[in-house]
C-alpha cells in the first residue's frame, strides 16, 4: 500500500520523460518550416523506384512523403476545408488525367491555403488538367509530343542521335536577385522533355532556361527539318515557377526524367568536350524541391522600429511625429535556409527600400545594413519627416523574384508644429524692426507717464511769450 504511490510516481515520471523525449525527437528531426506532409502522386507504385533517390533525399530532410495513386478513391487534398497535405508532387500520369481529386480548381484552392505544388511533366503525357492550370498561371505548354532539342548542348554519351538530352547550365549569378538555383556555375544539368513559354507577369519566374540554340519540335511528325518549331532559344523555359501572393509556390518542370535516378547518376559529355562528367541533377533537383517546398527563399521580418534620430530617450514606435522631425527606421530581416534562420542579405545590385507614404510616397529611400546578428540583419535609414501633416505610413514593400514577399506597413500621425515649437521672433532678423517698435512704444509710454506725473509746467517760457 505504501509503495503504491511511489510506483505511480515512477510511472508518471517515465511517462513524462517519454513525452519530453518525444518532443525532443520531433524537434531534432526538424519538421520543415512550412509543414512536412508531402503527397507524391504516382500512378504505379512500382515507378517510385525510378525516383527513389529524389524521394529518399526529401525524406532525409524531414519531409513525410506519402505515395498515392491518383486513381485512389479516398485521395483528397482537403478534409473539413483544411488541407491535409502541405506539399504535392505530381508525377506524369500514364492515363489521361489525374482524376477528380486533382483538378486545376482544387490545386489552386490548395495553393490558396498555402500549399506548394511541384509538377513534373513529360512530353508524352501532359494531362489536360495541367494544361488548364498552366494556362491560368500564364505558362504556355507545347502540344503533345513536342520535345526540346539542342544540337549544340546535347549529351553524347546517351542517345547521341536524337540529341534530346539537353545539357543546360545553371542560371547565371545575377547581382540583383537571390537566385537559389545558380549554385556551382560549371554544373551540367541533363534535361529530357518539353520546354514552355512564360507570359508577362511578376509572379512567374524562370528557373531553368533553354540554351540559345535549343528549339522544340513535334517528335511524332516526320518532318525532315524543323520548318515551324514551336519555340526556340532563350525565350523557351525548361523549368519555371509561380509564387502566388500568399507565397505558395507552384513549380513546373518540363522533364520528369531529370528527377530520376537514371539522370542523377548519368555521366554526360558535351559534343566537342573530351571527358564525361557526372550531372548535377541531384543537387539541382534538390534545390528545386527545397525552394518549392519552402526550405529556401523564405524571408521573415523579425522586428520593426522607428524613433526620433537625435534623441536617445525618445520612445520606440511612437504614434506621432512632428513635421521636419528626424526619424530613424529599422527593420530586422531573417531568411530561412533549409533548417535554420540566417541573416538576410540584400543582393548588391538590389535595394531594400523604405517608403513614407500618404496616398503617394513622399520618400522612397534605400535601407542599409546597420548590424548583423547570428540570425538576422538590421537594415536602417534616417530621414526628415516631410513638411506635410496627416496620417503617413512607413512601408517596406520588398517583392522580388524567388523570395517570399515582404510588405510591411505601419501608420503614424504627423502633426504640425505646436504653437511653442516655432522659431522665436528674436531669432528672425526680419522681426527685429517690429520688436524694436514695441520696445520704443513701451519706453515712450513709461517716459510719458513720468512726465505726466512729475513734470513742472514750462511756465517761464510761456510767460515770456505772453508778456512780449
Amino acid at each position: 500500500m505504501r509503495l503504491q504511490p511511489q510506483s505511480d510516481m515512477a510511472s508518471r515520471t517515465t511517462f513524462l520523460l517519454f513525452f519530453v523525449n518525444l518532443l525532443f525527437v520531433s524537434w531534432v528531426s526538424a519538421a520543415p518550416l512550412i509543414g512536412g506532409r508531402v503527397l507524391a502522386v504516382l500512378e504505379e507504385q512500382s515507378d517510385s523506384a525510378k525516383y527513389s533517390q529524389f524521394l529518399v533525399d526529401l525524406k532525409g530532410r524531414g519531409f513525410d512523403v506519402k505515395l498515392e495513386s491518383p486513381k485512389k478513391d479516398t485521395l483528397s487534398l482537403f478534409k473539413h476545408g483544411e488541407k491535409v497535405w502541405d506539399h504535392v508532387i505530381l508525377f506524369p500520369p500514364k492515363s489521361k488525367g489525374y482524376g477528380p481529386a486533382l483538378t486545376p480548381q482544387q490545386l489552386l484552392e490548395f495553393t490558396k491555403l498555402g500549399g506548394n505544388v511541384l509538377i513534373l511533366t513529360s512530353p508524352s503525357s501532359i494531362p489536360e488538367q495541367i494544361r488548364e492550370l498552366a494556362r491560368e498561371l500564364g505558362i504556355g505548354l507545347p502540344p503533345k509530343d513536342y520535345i526540346a532539342v539542342d544540337h549544340f548542348n546535347y549529351d553524347t554519351v546517351s542517345k547521341s542521335e536524337k540529341h534530346d538530352v539537353i545539357l543546360a547550365n545553371r542560371p547565371a549569378v545575377s547581382p540583383a536577385v537571390h537566385n537559389y538555383f545558380s549554385g556551382k556555375q560549371g554544373d551540367l544539368i541533363a534535361f529530357r522533355g518539353a520546354g514552355h513559354t512564360l507570359g508577362n507577369g511578376p509572379l512567374l519566374v524562370p528557373i531553368l532556361t533553354a540554351p540559345r540554340t535549343a528549339y522544340a519540335y513535334d517528335s511524332k511528325e516526320d518532318f525532315a527539318y524543323a520548318q515551324d518549331p514551336w519555340a526556340a532559344g532563350t525565350q523557351m523555359q525548361l523549368i519555371s515557377a509561380m509564387q502566388a501572393r500568399n507565397n505558395a509556390r507552384i513549380t513546373l518542370a518540363g522533364s520528369a526524367d531529370m528527377f530520376s535516378n537514371e539522370f542523377f547518376e548519368m555521366k554526360v559529355q558535351r559534343p566537342g568536350s573530351v571527358e564525361s562528367r557526372k550531372t548535377a541533377n541531384k543537387e539541382f533537383c534538390r534545390d528545386v524541391a527545397a525552394w518549392t517546398f519552402g526550405e529556401k527563399g523564405i524571408v521573415k521580418v523579425n522586428a520593426i522600429r522607428h524613433y526620433l534620430s537625435n534623441e536617445p530617450d525618445s520612445p520606440v514606435n511612437p504614434n506621432m511625429y512632428r513635421i521636419k522631425n528626424d526619424a530613424t527606421f529599422e527593420i530586422e530581416l531573417s531568411e530561412y535556409d533549409t533548417d535554420r534562420w540566417v541573416p538576410f542579405k540584400v543582393p548588391s545590385g538590389d535595394s531594400l527600400q523604405l517608403e513614407f507614404t500618404m496616398l503617394d510616397p513622399y520618400y522612397r529611400i534605400p535601407l542599409f545594413p546597420a548590424s548583423t546578428s547570428s540570425n538576422y540583419t538590421t537594415y536602417a535609414t534616417s530621414f526628415k519627416i516631410p513638411d506635410q501633416h496627416g496620417v503617413f505610413a512607413f512601408r517596406v514593400n520588398y517583392k522580388r523574384p524567388y523570395i517570399t514577399y515582404v510588405d510591411e506597413k505601419y501608420s503614424v500621425t504627423v502633426r504640425h508644429f505646436a504653437h511653442d515649437e516655432y522659431t522665436r521672433s528674436w531669432d528672425i532678423s526680419g522681426a527685429w524692426v517690429w520688436i524694436a517698435g514695441i520696445a520704443v512704444t513701451i519706453t515712450g509710454w513709461i517716459g510719458f507717464c513720468a512726465l505726466w506725473l512729475w513734470s513742472a509746467p514750462a511756465a517761464i517760457k510761456a510767460g515770456l511769450k505772453k508778456t512780449e
Binding site: H151, E221, D222, Y225, P229, P271, D387, I442, W454, P457
Partner: protein, 306 residues
Amino acid sequence: MRSTISSGMSSWTLFALAFSSLAAAASGAWTFEDAQAVIAAKGGKAEAYKFSPTKPIKGAINLGPKDILKVSLTVKEDSKVGRPHQAFLLVQEPESKVEAFFPLNVKELSGKAKVDLSHKDLPAFLLTAPSLSLSLVLGSFGQSTASIATIGNVEPLLDPAAKALLEKQKQKDIGEGTVVYRAKDEIRHVFRADPQSPPKIITLVFLLSVLAGLGGLFVVWFPILGGNLSHLPKALKAAPISHPLFFASLLSLEGIFFMYYTQWNLFQTLAGMAVVGPVALFSGSRALREVRARRERESARRCEEK
C-alpha cells in the same frame, strides 16, 4: 524521306535519317557556301552582299520599310549538300540579347536554302532597335557538328511616324503596365522653402530709424517742449507711498508682459496681473489725485501772479 510518308512511320524515318546522316558523315560539320544577302527594293536595283561562314558581311545592311532582305545559301554537310533539321536565321538585338528565329526553307536535293526578312516579319521590339545582328544556326541529329555563324548587321530604317507607332507596340509587347518586381526609383521629399528674412543691413537701417524715432521723441519732449522731472520731490513729499508704488506697478506690468513674451504662460501672466493690477489702480488714483491737486494749486498761483 519527305514528309509525305505517313506519320505512323515517323520514328522509322527519324531513325533512317539519323542513320544515314551518321553513315554519311561520321564526324562532319554543317556548313554553308554560295551565301549572299540581297536587298530587294521595289523598282530599285538589288544590292547583293556575299558572305561565308568565316567572313561576315562588313558594314551594316540598311533595311528600308519596303525592302526585303533575301538570304540564300547552299547548306553542306562537309562537302555534300544536305538538309539539317535545324536551319534558323537568328535576329538578335545585341544589347538585351533578345532574339527571334526564322527557319530557312531548305531544298533537300540541292541543299539550297533561303529566307526572306522584311519589316513586317520583325517584331516591334527588334524593329525599333538601332542595329540587329544576324546569325545562322545549322544543326541536325547525328554526329555532324552543328554550327553557328555570324552573318552581319542590319539597320532597320524607319520613318518617324512608323517609329512612333512601333514604339507603342513595343511597349505593349514587353508588358507595358505589368508590374516588374524590382527596386523602384528613389524619391526624396522636396521641402517647401523656409521663410526668408530680408538682408540684415536693411533690417538694421530700419531698426536704427525706429530707435531714432524714440530719440527724436525725447529730444522734442525735453529740450524743445521743456519737459522736466522737477516736481518729483514735491510729489514724493505729498504722496510718498502712492507715487513710487504707482510707477513701480507700471514698470512691473511691462515686466509681466516681457515675461509672457519670453517664458510665462497665460495663467502665470494673469496671476501677475491680478497682483499688480489692483496696486496700480489704487496707487494710481492716489497719485493722480495728487497730480491734479498740484496742477490746480499751480494754476491758482499763476493767476494770482498775473
